[in-house]
């Protein structure tokens, strides 16, 4: 007995990408193993850690809780797509570097995408809001203090960018 296969096409970081996969292929596995975009990480596969967060049509979702077939045709942004157009670090990425917001870097892609989406909604968070913004993602290395600082720094950098 072989599984039914489906062609799934996504606009990933602005580029149309497709692959033929079974219905049960998780979006996280689709991105990582079918499209070989391994920036999106998997820390739990039950929707709790947030490492697999990607933006689907601009909204952060946990790619380990979605089947690839259910988002066929969507626009997806992964951490690879959070750079500036010239390939340099985007504002959230740069903020993490400035503030030592990462250690092992495994959780980081999920934070970068989450914060990117958050700042679109709330470009000028307070310290407290910055902490709330990342309260759904797990990090085992940093103790979060520098990630909170990264959120605030990213907001600054983003403001500078949009003023330009």
């Amino acid at each position: 007995m072989s599984e039914a296969m489906f062609e799934v096409t996504l606009l990933v970081n602005g580029v149309p990408r497709s692959a033929t996969v079974p219905a049960r292929r998780l979006l996280s596995d689709f991105l990582r193993h079918d499209l070989e975009l391994t920036g999106t990480h998997v820390g739990c596969e039950h929707g709790v850690c947030g490492a697999c967060t990607v933006l689907v049509d601009g909204r952060p979702i946990r790619s380990c809780l979605q089947f690839a077939v259910t988002v066929d045709g969507a626009e997806v942004t992964t951490v690879e797509g959070c750079t500036r157009p010239d390939g340099e670090l985007g504002h959230v990425q740069q903020a993490f570097r400035d503030c030592h917001g990462l250690q092992c870097g495994f959780c980081t892609p999920g934070f970068v995408t989450t914060i990117t989406a958050y700042l679109e909604e709330n470009p000028t968070p307070t310290q407290e809001q910055a902490r709330e913004a990342i309260a759904g993602n797990l990090c085992r290395c940093t103790g979060y203090q520098n990630i909170v600082a990264s959120v605030l720094r990213a907001a600054e950098l983003r403001a500078e960018e949009t003023q330009r």
């Binding site: 990582r32 570097r97 030592h100 092992c104 870097g105 495994f106 980081t108 085992r140 203090q145």
Partner: protein
Amino acid sequence: MTTAAFGEPIARLEDPRLLTGQGRFLDDIGHQALAAAFVRSPHAHARIVDIDVSAAVDVEGLVAVYTHEDLDGRVGEPLPLLIPHAALTHGRTAYALAKDEVNHVGEPIVMVVATDRYVAEDVCDRIVVTYDFLPPVVGIEAARSAELLVHDDVPGNVSAHLVQSRGDVEAALAGAPHVLELDLDIERSASTPLEGKGVHARWDADDASLRVYTSTQASTSVRAALAARLELPLDRVEVIAPDVGGGFGVKIVHPWPEEVVVPWAAIRLGREVKWTEDRREHFVGATHERGQLQHVEVGFDDDGRLLGLDVTVWHDNGAYTPYGIIVPIVTTTQLLGPYKPEAYRAEFFSLYTNTVTVTPYRGAGRPQGCFAMERTMDAVAAYLGLDRTVVRERNFIRPDEMPYDHGLIFQDGRPLIYDSGDYPATLEKLKKLVGWDEFEAFRAEARAAGRRVGIGIACYVEGTGVGPYEGGWVKVETDGTVVAATGLTTQGQGHKTAFAQVVASELGVPVERVQVTTGDTRRFGYAVGTFASRAAVMSGNALASAARKVRDKALRIAGEALEADPRDLEIVDGVVRVVGSPPSAPGSSIPLATVAVLANPLRYAFDREAERATQFGGPVDYSKPPVAEGDSPGLEDTGYYSPPRSTFANGMHAAIVETDPDTAEITILRYCVVHDCGRLINPRIVEGQIHGGVAQGVGGALYERMVYDDAGQLLNASFMDFLMPYATEVPVVETDHLETPSPLNPLGIKGAGEAGVIPGSAVLASAISDAEGFAITRMPISPSDLFSLRLAQESR
């Protein structure tokens, strides 16, 4: 422009890759590999009666199914016991795939290899294992009572029993004006890195060689283990730790069952095979730590000076002892912290239970030791009505007593001798940082507002940088790039940056020029591993030594080229020049890149650097060989660092907590850290280590516990139920530090990796006790635990 190197809080060199999704973690490698999955025991203690694979064989995509019967040669033997000890009289290790019996839920029994992980798991679901159930031993009390045994041939469930002492404790206790007894209890937690384990293996039949990627803290040692188990020559096996998503101790254990059978299957099948651990597997198939019961008897005088301290520890080592008894040894030796009781005796029993095996988790037994000692200090202070900091201060080893010999044997088998540290100064700093002397005013204010607050303190000393050695290799390439390698591995500590800072400083080059490789046996074959806060001390000093040798050689060659005395030369910003000469004064300088070219008398020149070097090619002495005897081509060298013994870092934490009078909710209002880890290579990285450690300490104190039921089922084997702290649970950490350089190594550094986590349970127990007015003796503590304790206190 030279980027300042050693001691500067520079941004990390590894970050751009990791931030843009270009990291290569284990599961990012080998997209074409076959996938392995495991059938694991759902029972805590059982005999395997039958394994029936008949329903599985026609699953499309299945490649192979293996059980213990298939494991040939040494692969079928019990896994190695890494650190034997004379006291470990009954060490036991598992088989790579269970043979006849399983001893904890999660033990691997069958390996399935298939075209992808989905299919491999389908196959696992169809394999039927029949068991004969055996009653499980769960919890330390059950193990200690020994009514049931984990291993039939281990009487009393005792794997090891060890007593260490200094002085006559019995006499000291008998003669002490005051004696107190404490019973303490710490539960299990685990390293729980965000990336689980994983192995990828590729057999090259043409080359008869094996390449293994594994998410490990000890690639050189995995290599040696694999060569031995797979019966391959060592030089036909290469092991690489790719980017590793956190370790915290769990990944120092090796070889894991999966680390043996995945490469074994890759060779057998002639195909790439990969296994990536999922979260549930990590909870039940990796390792845990911390679980101990402790009994303390302490005798002291009217001033609170400790005369005798007698500690007994019952340590839960889980189902097997692959990593020996390091954890209880560390507990019972590091328990002493900054104090010097006149007589000390520590005894431990390491006990088997039918639960996941116990191996070091960041702190490695120190948090438990610190808990015992600091609860004792608080008890003494409370008994005598003295300030808790005063009692501690009176028991401190003074700076002028360094080096201080405890008369015990440490985890490395060497004498427990503290090299340096200034404990009174550390305490002063901490009191100032947290506002210790002003706290009573704050308490009164809070009380008036109907709030309940408390302050706690805990001190620790941490043996870091244990031997035996690490090595480093440094090479200047002909384009001026400096490549360096060390064998130990990296799991987020920023080694590529910190080690680049060390090399850049020694060599006199910009830090961005230095590219460091860690944990790749192709680049450096001799290493021990990353654990016990040893990487910076060991590889830092080894790389410094290698860089100094390269520097000497560069000066010698440049001296010949410039016709100058090497002693008059310096290297600044990647250029060798006569000391003090202005940049680019003709004939007084030569780029390091050019020196690298001159260091290698090549027959063919391919690049511009080689052409440039020809201008320095002075008259040739044809009576001598091009490469002098004892010399070697190239501007590179290797250095090792092997310490006489560990170097001891120290620190003190203070916390202010608020406990809700009604709901017993516990909130940390402030968390202050003062630490001393000698000279800092990169203060920003050290600070990050402290933050992360504190978060794990807070997790272990207030949230994390492995909950086993009587049948040995781990009830909370997921991130939904095991409460790892989110940002909302971790306090802001306020830090200050001292720098007491270690006299034991040239760079004067001490380890910092574990510091943050050690006093977590101790300091929060101290603060909660202070808020509540009764002593907390069990950690972790949840609001409902605290609520029950309050009820029990009231009914007293």
